[in-house]
Amino acid sequence: MAYPVVQRTGAEAAYPSRTWRAFVLHWISTTDHKEIGLLYITFSFISFIFAGILAMFMRAELALPGPTILTESQYSQFFSTHGTTMIFLFIIPVFVGFGNYFVPLLIGAKDMAFPRINALGFWMLPPAALMIWTGQAAVGWTGYEPLTNVMYTPGPSVDLWLVGLIVVGTSSILGGANFLVTILKLRRPGMTFWKMPLFVWAILTTQMMVVMATPVLASVLTLAFLDRNIGTCFFVTTAGCGPIFGAGDPGDPILWQHLFWFYSHPAVYIMVLPAMGVINEVIPKMSRKPIFGYKAMAMALFGIGFVGFLVWAHHMFTTGISVTVRAPFMIMTMVVAVPTGVKIFNWLATMWRGSINFKTPLLFAVGFLALFTIGGIDGVYQASIPLDYQLQESYWVVAHLHYVLFGGSVMGLFAACYFWYPTMTKRMYNERLGQAHFLMTLVGMNLVFFTMHFIGLSGMLRRTFDYTSELQYWPQLAWMNLLASLGAFLLGIGQLPFFYNMIVSKWKGKVAPADPWA
């Protein structure tokens, strides 16, 4: 029996939540790791819905050529907020939520090491989200300089974005230190490192990366904030930094990219490693076989985390950095495929000749394997410097990153939601609705994002609001974009049964058996 139903008691007894006031007071003052986990998960899915609606608007705009339902500046705000929200307010915190809920259970700790800091880490997110959402900065999720500078984007929008992300980053660091101390110091007696569940290994690796990478993001955001508000000249070559000398002054926009990607490439692994951890738990359980190559899996997680720090400049091949820098980064990027491949083959070997239980968690896990492999191979392909010159800034990149982040992280997240639903609520979700959700997600996601590969190869640039002028050279963009938009709508509608299932099954679902996956 792997995941017995966990009774949620005690916490309620401390603050009986009979009245609304008591209910609110209970939830804003809780320091219980499971309740904070639920808060993280709930908050993250609210962000997911918000950013998903923005994506629907974007695809609606792009379905037909010419300006249709959005203005140009609205479109820029929407894709920027979509990206920032999905990454910083959905995928990263939602896995922090699952980690909060399950890491202490899996290692046998009674709570996280620092319960109040845990609560602080969560409560910093809603204000940060409010800042980012009211700001609606139109600078992409990457906030490239000098666009982010005050002379190109005046007003408080970018300031709110910068400050919001600093708050998110601080929350991540607090959470990271808390997770590390919990995992390193609070394992049940006898649980040495090589006995930890692989989900815990994944969270351990992820949070080590958070602690080392996020402060660099905090520092670069702070410097950009100083550039905007004090008039320092870290990233700008003109304007605030040298009306006296004119162009050619020393600030360096590429500096932003180095420091930003020093965080944001590891961030990709911060988003996908916990999903891999989930898959590590789902596949053996649902195949009724122990995981194939436990130690290799743990070391592969660590390997991905380590190499993940050595590849950031592959986002910058076209910026004119020297070839002696580019070449090693290209090689290291390709090296990431090795530990990733170890994991993919070990998962397949785990399923091989297993007695497979084809319930929704397994469907999403298999979906993860297929889609993440496509995304990963895209990555190796694009790591090649000459190819990157062609693909940079095209829709191909959008396709790649969504295969990794949606096909990888979010499919793993859905697997986690279904797999652990009985543990968290004592109820079963509706299997038929779960399978419908999987089918619509799989078809919709491939329609929108696989098509984007061809849109990109046809020559359409990402962050593009309108492609009317391109149609005379590449008429195929018209039907490709329509197809992608239809796929996006299917993907969007496909999430409705998920939310219905997750909310309604809490009360209407069958009571979960002792081992729901027996």
Binding site: M1, A2, Y3, P4, G10, A13, I28, S29, T31, D32, P104, L106, G108, A109, K110, D111, F114, P115, R116, F122, W123, P126, P127, A128, M131, P156, D159, L162, G164, T170, G176, V181, L184, K185, R187, R188, P189, M191, P197, M212, P215, A218, S219, L223, T232, C233, F234, G240, C241, G242, P243, I244, F245, D249, P250, G251, L255, L259, P290, I291
Partner: protein
């Protein structure tokens, strides 16, 4: 795999009987939200409200501690290979690792700016002043003295911990107070120097019309030393807290973890200065 999970989950159940909550994390987050959004929108009242609520939040957090409300997770745990290192100390070291990366970002930015400009004097463009030249805006002897002040404060800090470990509370209190004074001296000298540089040498963090060529240097100088100074100020507040507690009879032979943790932070800030001092004051372009 299956065996751990079942064992773990049952162990997890047991702990919730002693659960209690804390409103103060929420209060601190509200303070952060108000203060930071005030910073972004240049609304002074929001910033002031944020600071006020921050004081309330920190006060409440410490008040909860002083009432003996413990959030420590009890139980027997597998601690190898970290046995003997307390959770707080491990947490402090992990925090210091993140601080290393924060300062790496700042120092890396300063390094990049330095490499983009020629050395001074250079006509009609930004340049980097040379420490050996008479035009060098920074005051090397004064800051060398300030460096001694900070190093001395590290010595008194570690002696305070040593005294506490030996159980010599009088010595401990004296060394803690000395550390606080030396830290305050460091910041005071830095403020004095900033004042001299800003108004006397026209060294500003932006390009000014009097010495426009020093805009780049000023940017790098104020960002790096400013964030270091902010960290020292944070350390001084922590030392103030330790001093007050020590006067009231806290800390001694069996209770010196707080001194050790603040000490770790204090020495880390010293290490940052050990690198920043030659980088900003002694190395030219």
């Amino acid at each position: 795999m299956e065996e751990h999970a079942s064992h773990a989950a049952s162990a997890g159940d047991a702990g919730h009987a002693e659960h209690h909550g804390s409103i103060w994390p929420f209060v601190l987050a509200v303070a952060g939200g108000l203060g930071f959004s005030g910073l972004a929108t240049h609304e002074i009242p929001l910033i002031l409200a944020g600071i006020a609520i921050l004081v309330v939040g920190v006060g409440g957090w410490l008040w909860q501690d002083s009432r003996g409300v413990s959030f420590t997770v009890k139980g027997n745990y597998e601690e190898r290979p970290f046995a003997g290192i307390s959770r707080r100390k491990l947490g402090m070291w992990i925090f210091l690792v993140s601080e290393i990366f924060f300062f790496t970002g700042l120092i890396g930015a300063g390094l990049t700016l330095r490499l983009r400009v020629p050395s001074c004097p250079s006509v009609g463009q930004a340049c980097w002043p040379e420490p050996a030249s008479p035009d060098f805006p920074l005051n090397i002897p004064l800051t060398a003295i300030n460096t001694f002040v900070l190093i001395t404060s590290s010595l008194t800090m570690v002696e305070a911990l040593h005294a506490a470990q030996k159980g010599n509370r009088a010595q401990m209190k004296a060394f803690l107070f000395a550390t606080f004074l030396l830290g305050a001296t460091f910041v005071s000298i830095q403020v004095y120097e900033y004042n001299k540089l800003f108004f006397g040498e026209n060294l500003t963090p932006w390009v000014n019309s009097v010495r426009p060529e020093l805009g780049t240097f000023g940017t790098a100088f104020y960002a790096q030393t400013g964030f270091h100074g902010a960290h020292v100020t944070g350390g001084i507040l922590a030392l103030l807290f330790l001093n007050v507690k020590a006067w009231r009879g806290k800390y001694g032979k069996d209770d010196h973890e707080a001194i050790e943790l603040v000490g770790l932070y204090w020495h880390f800030v010293d290490v940052v200065w050990i690198f920043l001092f030659p980088i900003m004051y002694l190395i030219g372009r």
